[in-house]
């Protein structure tokens, strides 16, 4: 159990994860990977192929309550004061440390015989986890329960989940008419590792005792569910981690199904609304499952020797009786029952206004830009401005972000997107994304919260996406 806890802790702390808001990539129609966050995006590719392992790499780290600089800045303050004021008492239970990392293993897409239909497919690996600030546990661990009579330490403060999985996907994008494009993507999840403890309840409290000085009460309803942790632990012992990761990631672990949905709709020739709903799915964990529970209620007032009852059994072991009583009322148990987890579902929406000089599309032909074989497509403009909404379902409720953006296209060579985003991590998130086209090669690089680079140790949030593709827009 201890080793397991260490594995999970390292997994959490080492990766510092959070489901990623890809506000720069969203609706960036020049980049094929934008299809992954809106399967109903406008597409004008004939086909594309991602460079394996390099086509889509995205990393994000976020901490809503505290930064490295808050604790370790060389500011002459006592670290004990900083930890107590800024970490232990400064953070709230809704503060989190979280992140999501994604690496595309392979990806591709092609236009079907019906030129209004574009297919895309691929496999990517995702690591996602979130740890909310377990405030009452921290106070109990940092200061103890002395002089805190009747103060309840809330056990529901422990909320964390994380997973590593591979996602196989296949998407269909269809231009329904000149105004509407719809898309859907089916997903098969192959879970490598999962842990979650999200529905905890209970408290620990010290009160005035009925007989003795104090009564210590533990009312616990705690559960930790895991799958794949044991397999990785065994693999670690056998020095076989890589093979185990690959095996579990290729349908050897736990499986699930999901779907992404999306659309693009032209309100008029220059105004576009888009939306997508991602990872509407679940994973059924039945393989290598181990769950732990601590459930019950017990109040103790130390060892009690009460005569004349204690005279009845001269061999009575008062201490062991006390231990047994606690274990009876609050049993620590484990089982291997299967369980279901739901994916962190994401919602994107945007409204975009295109303006400026109309331009020819990326297709190197004298044909319609949006769809080489369709006469009913929208004109593309050099400039776009608009707003985006992002929401994600998290254990403590939905999180959201609002983004304003400006996009500029420079011929077929380059496109830029600048964003300003407000979310729980920061109000000063400026981002910049760029995609470059050199012949068939497409390269994109996006990073946000650029102001934080003034002192990256003081950043609450940082993310980037990078990728390399080969894109064809059809014959000249």
């Amino acid at each position: 159990m201890v080793k397991k806890a260490v594995v999970i802790t390292i997994f959490c702390i080492g990766l510092f994860m959070h489901a990623q808001n890809k506000q720069l990539l969203y609706d960036f129609t020049e980049v094929p990977q934008a299809l992954m966050i809106n399967p109903g995006m406008e597409t004008d590719f004939s086909w594309y192929a991602g460079i394996p392992l390099l086509s889509g790499i995205s990393v994000q780290a976020g901490s809503s309550g505290i930064t490295v600089n808050d604790i370790f800045a060389n500011d002459g303050l006592d670290i004990n004061d900083k930890v107590r004021d800024r970490l232990i008492y400064g953070m709230a239970t809704r503060d989190e440390v979280s992140s999501t990392d994604q690496v595309e293993i392979f990806s591709g897409g092609f236009r079907g015989k019906d030129p209004s239909v574009f297919y895309s497919f691929g496999l990517y690996n995702e690591v996602d986890a979130i740890v909310y600030w377990f405030k009452d546990y921290a106070i109990l661990g940092y200061e103890g329960n002395a002089d805190r009579l009747n103060e309840r330490f809330d056990l529901s403060d422990l909320v964390t989940r994380g997973e590593m999985l591979n996602v196989f996907h296949f998407g269909i994008n269809k231009r329904m008419n000149k105004d509407l494009t719809l898309g859907a993507r089916g997903k098969i999840y192959s879970s490598i590792l999962d842990f979650n403890t999200v529905d905890n309840d209970g408290y620990f409290v010290t009160t005035e005792g009925e007989n003795n000085v104090y009564a210590s009460t533990l009312d616990a309803d705690l559960e930790l569910r895991t799958s794949g942790v044991n397999a990785l632990e065994r693999a670690s012992d056998d020095d076989n981690v890589a093979a185990t990761l690959i095996k579990r990631g290729l349908f050897g672990g736990n499986l699930g199904l999901g779907v992404d949905l999306g659309f693009t709709y032209y309100l008029n020739g220059q105004t576009v609304v888009t939306g997508s709903l991602l990872d509407l799915g679940f994973i059924y964990h039945a393989n290598d499952v181990e769950n732990y529970t601590l459930e019950g209620n017990a109040t103790i007032e130390g060892v009690e020797v009460i005569l004349p009852d204690a005279l009845d059994d001269p061999d009575q072991d008062f201490w062991q009786d006390l231990v047994d009583e606690v274990e009876e009322f609050i049993p620590f148990e484990n089982d291997t029952k299967a369980y279901v987890t739901f994916r962190p579902t994401k919602l994107y929406g945007s409204i975009r206004y295109n303006f400026g000089e109309p331009m020819q599309g990326s297709a190197v032909c004298d044909c319609d830009y949006q769809n080489a074989n369709s006469a009913s497509s929208a004109v593309k403009y050099r400039n776009s401005i608009g707003g985006q909404l992002y929401m994600i379902n998290r254990p403590r409720g939905p999180q959201s972000a609002l983004t304003a953006f400006y996009q500029r296209r420079f011929g077929n060579f380059m496109a830029l997107k600048a964003t300003y985003t407000v979310d729980k991590f920061t109000f000063t998130n400026l981002g910049l994304g760029a995609t470059f086209q050199a012949g068939a090669f497409n390269f994109y690089l996006m990073a946000d919260n650029l102001l934080a680079y003034r002192n990256i140790a003081d950043s609450h949030y940082s993310s980037f996406q990078i990728g390399l593709n080969i894109i064809s827009w059809g014959e000249k």
Partner: protein
């Protein structure tokens, strides 16, 4: 040419952002100065002997009991405890003078420390005693090595008198508050 120049500027901006991003001076050696020393408190031992039971005790009018108590010798506590205090509240509402003796024993039965309470017959005040362990008190190793507790109650009076108070008895309450080093 103009477009390529813009592209070059964008590239340079990214590169400069990464290469010339700043990090204010951090002192990770501060971690060595971090001290996490919470104090936990809880009840330890409760003893209750009614006067009727005292009157029924056979000669030599003594009740004695030894039992295991491994809360303090558990490694997770013993390796981390720095200092603490044991507080006793002893009250005698019986009609006779009593003596309570608490002995702390190690795993081999050696006596580590003894607390003796001489109690007057009622009416008498509650006796409160605090015994400190650690740098400014008794040796903290006494606490670390407690493996069992011996309790002895001796009746120094008669076996027939009865207190005028309701439910006369002798009670011992005790609590411990100990500071441990987590970091």
């Amino acid at each position: 040419m103009k477009i390529k120049r813009i592209g070059t500027y964008v590239w340079l901006m990214f590169v400069f952002s990464i290469l010339f991003s700043c990090v204010e001076e951090q002192d990770f050696n501060q971690y060595d100065d971090l001290s996490i020393t919470p104090t936990y408190e809880a009840s330890v031992l409760y003893l209750e002997v009614p006067e009727s039971t005292i009157n029924d005790l056979p000669a030599p009018d003594t009740y004695s009991r030894e039992f295991e108590f491994e809360a303090f010798s558990e490694t997770v506590f013993a390796d981390r405890v720095l200092e603490g205090v044991l507080t006793y509240y002893v009250e005698n509402t019986t009609s006779k003078p009593l003596e309570l003796e608490i002995r702390f024993l190690d795993a081999t039965g050696n006596v580590l420390a003894t607390e003796v309470f001489e109690l007057d017959p009622e009416p008498s005040a509650e006796v409160i005693r605090e015994t400190y362990y650690g740098p400014y008190g008794e040796d903290i190793d006494i606490i670390r090595n407690i493996s069992s507790i011996s309790v002895t109650a001796t009746n120094n009076g008669d076996n027939v008198s009865t207190s005028s108070q309701d439910n006369p008895m002798v009670t011992l309450k005790s609590s411990g508050a100990f500071t441990v080093s987590i970091k």
